[in-house]
Amino acid sequence: MSDFFSLLAEEFPRVRSGLWVTLQATVLGALLAGALAFALGLTAGSGVLLVRGASRVVVEFFRGTSLYIQLFWLYYAMPLVTGYELTPVICGVVAFGLNFGAYGAEVVRGAINSVPRGQYEAAIALNLGPARRLWRVILPQAWVQMIPSFTNLLIQLLKATPLLWLISAADLMTVVQQLRDRTGETLTAYLTLLAAYFVLAYALTLLMNLLERSAKRRLGLDTGARSLFRSRSASATAVGGAR
């Protein structure tokens, strides 16, 4: 038992760089996913059939074909087709971004649809242009609705990062498994790894709770400090099969 932890302490720089790879893939993937989610989610409500249709096709394609296959396609197949190779971490970022962006698009679409009809009508009655209507009236209200589902997706994305091990990026999982191979302490190694992901997931949840609180405050809803420490599952019930 102590062997594993003494090796862990000894090899701390490598563990830290593995953690860094995992965090990098999570954060960059989430940023790409967020951008895509808004782009696809907003175009899904377009009045132009072609735009709306294109957005739907992209969303259904990336939701339907399994993240695993998308990642492997980018890593193994794309260099053969295009002659252009991505580094493993970038492969991960692109695959996570596309896949979770497609799921996020549904969240954006749903949240915008859930803003009461009267808000649109009021904005039109006040003679706000389409851009100001969206930016000033619809999005601030929809945004509050989106955050719990986005939190879910972010945790799912974090949980998908061990896939990087399979395309030989030196992420946290890879590094910890190397330590396991050297000490032979399977149970300790994997429990430590699971605990690390659990801590990361909870830290991300806390950050997202802060974001949700500030978004609610802007709408004049105050939620009290207790809600900040709420875990993900308290708000997860409505999102059956978020992915």
Binding site: G64, F72, A77, T186, Y190
Partner: protein, 213 residues
Amino acid sequence: MNGFDRNAVGESLPLLLEGFRVTLLATVLGTLVAAVLGLVVAVAGRAPSRFVTVPVRAVTEFVRSTPLLVQLVGAAALFNTVEPLYIGIAVLGVHYAAYTSEVYRAGIDGVPKGQWEACRALSLSPRRTWQAVILPQAVRNVLPALGNYAISMFKETPFLAVITVQEMVFEARKYGADHFAYTEVFTLAGLVFLVASYPTSLLMRKLEKRLGH
């Protein structure tokens, strides 16, 4: 090698479909485990004693917040004498049970309070209360959500390839490595997933609308 080799498509398709049978088997059995275990966890989470509810909540929270891939690889390394397919089904089932228990919980919360009170007034035993009154009402509402989790699980079965279960992606990787034809097999495998999962999710959406969600 450039472009798309049609021979590779024709040659690998039967292999992929054979792997697909294992993929489906793992999904169906994994869903079954998740559906039953999730219900058990949800009912246990409503036990009157805190000594039951607190550990149950902690464990589900932990399982849900940690990566499936790590759980799979860890379980396979620990129980390396057990058939990988069984480990895969068990881990998938346990992982998704942590989610389905939440679905059941919401379904149970959705049963009006008056129903519980009526059961108490009729002095039904806890067992009869659950069996005859609460669960029949709760389960109807959770079916679409369970279906959605089944679809998610289906798309995560490729993880099983890592612990050497010979499902579709395992076959795809093997063929790809042998013939250096990754493009064809991975494109094909992706299409099989799309063809199988898209109609199912459409069906689920219809069912959800029908049940008034």
